[in-house]
Symmetry: C2
Subunit: 95 residues, 2 copies
């Protein structure tokens, strides 16, 4: 079943915004992170794919840098931090 | 100069939505196209990069298929058509 509805989501006073969609029953969002540092909590496990710019992320201990084209996965029912010096576009896939 | 402001844009009754940002003076948008066919007109030349799903596009004559990871460029002051069977996430870079 196709689900055509797109949903705009905004977090952190509009500094993180995304468009949620669903394809073949899998949920995902395409979004942008403005410069700053943000803390997220997860329900489902998710994969964050950097599609423009460079994102730093801390999943557990220590910050790592994720350039455009790289990705990281975050367990469900957990939390992670990201920070961006410049705006970063990402795709988030719920696993 | 950093420009932190993200702008939500919606077209075709919400069937195409995007988040606009600017990095190092270059404008871009991350967005999603719901199933359907859409006609766009360009001001600046732009590069459309498919980051999730598969998009068909007609720039000039004939439809071509652009799978995830591929891109196409559209001249400024022109027009193009896209169609999607399932939702497609894209990055649009203004050139």
């Amino acid at each position: 079943m196709l689900k055509a509805t797109l949903t705009h989501q905004t977090y952190f006073d509009g500094n993180v915004q995304s468009i949620a969609f669903e394809r073949h029953g899998r949920r995902a969002t395409a979004g942008v992170i403005a410069p700053g540092e943000y803390h997220f909590e997860t329900e489902a496990p998710e994969r964050m794919i950097v599609v423009s710019g460079e994102l730093e992320a801390k999943i557990g201990e220590g910050w790592r840098t994720y350039p455009n084209g790289t990705s990281f996965e975050v367990p469900g029912k957990s939390a992670f931090d990201v920070r961006a010096k410049d705006p970063v576009a990402y795709l988030c896939e719920y696993l």
